[in-house]
Symmetry: C2
Subunit: 198 residues, 2 copies
């Protein structure tokens, strides 16, 4: 399974935000919505073997489970609405127990480190870094976990945690890309690797 | 220069659409907005050597000029607002003369074939096709023009026109991707090609 964990530093932790200002008042939730789009959508289907974890303000994590998603659309607004619905169920997320808000979408009362602890087991953890190895030089892992940040860099604490945990530190090219574009390139690398005759 | 021409079959040709329903009443304008995002945005800058042509309903073409863009933001809604502003100037686009609506954004009274005629000169025209050659096997052109369709396939007429004009028929991987993801992969291919030591 391919997993993507994206840290939303300014993302909302309550559902009282407008879908009309995702890039402003909603703390750049548009970035996280595009990451969900890039992680799941193929031209004519959804990647079922993908799981996405959106860390919201280090308080909650919203999980998207590819094999269970039913109402995901490509546009930012409708994905933001799913995140808002998840936040409406935040009081039902007690301890580390998830609360499902819509099919395949659930919320957990977990910040970045707790989520990383919970999902990293059994995965190959890849972090993106300007000085990382070219991803094309890396042996494609069976169960990669890509950890990305939103429009901000990782904080010093997040970075040191990742440096301690990362199995691979990679870069996807000579240019530094937005998180959602990085996810698209990572998928393409994993799709094509070993398919030289595709 | 890298150019991307995206055909919006259901896209609006008048400015009387709501920014609140881009994926519905606005004819999947969200798809075209994500294509603009993928074509121009790097993590910390805009790709200035890029030009995007959005064909709207085979009536108008809105051009985004990377070197002149001033007000482009990554979210779908604000990009749709720029398209709507361009459509507000559609009456100023007389004959084939462009009308600039905001810095780097202009509208022309040209459909798909006219736009293709106008921009293909001196470019290497690449079309995306499931049976195309893997893009990694293609010599990266100096001035590629990628022609893509929105959420619909090309019409028979568009396809035959492209088959007659295309210099290369390529695919970006074993999976068929959305147009905006295809643009991201194409950029990454052009960015990394020849940069094995990036």
């Amino acid at each position: 399974m391919r997993q993507f964990l994206i840290v939303g530093h300014d993302a909302p932790t309550t559902p009282d935000f407008s879908l009309d200002d995702l890039a402003g008042a909603a703390g750049r939730l548009d970035v996280l919505c595009r990451c969900v789009n890039s992680a799941f959508f193929l031209s004519h289907s959804i990647r079922e073997d993908v799981r996405v974890h959106l860390v919201l303000g280090d308080e909650f994590t919203v999980r998207f489970e590819g094999s269970e998603l039913r109402r995901l659309n490509p546009d930012e607004r409708s994905t933001a609405a799913l995140v808002r619905q998840a936040l409406e169920h935040r009081e039902d997320a007690i301890g580390h127990m998830p609360a499902e808000s819509t099919p395949g979408v659930s919320i957990r009362r977990m910040g970045f480190e707790e989520t990383l602890d919970a999902v990293a087991d059994g995965t190959t953890l890849l972090t993106l870094h300007e000085d990382g190895d070219p991803i094309v030089d890396v042996e494609p892992p069976a169960d990669p976990l890509f950890v990305l940040s939103d429009h901000h860099d990782f904080s010093a604490a997040e970075r040191s945690l990742l440096d301690a945990r990362a199995d691979e530190r990679v870069r996807v090219g000579p240019e530094v890309l937005h998180a959602d574009h990085t996810i698209t390139v990572a998928h393409n690398f994993l799709d094509t690797e070993g398919f030289t005759a595709y």
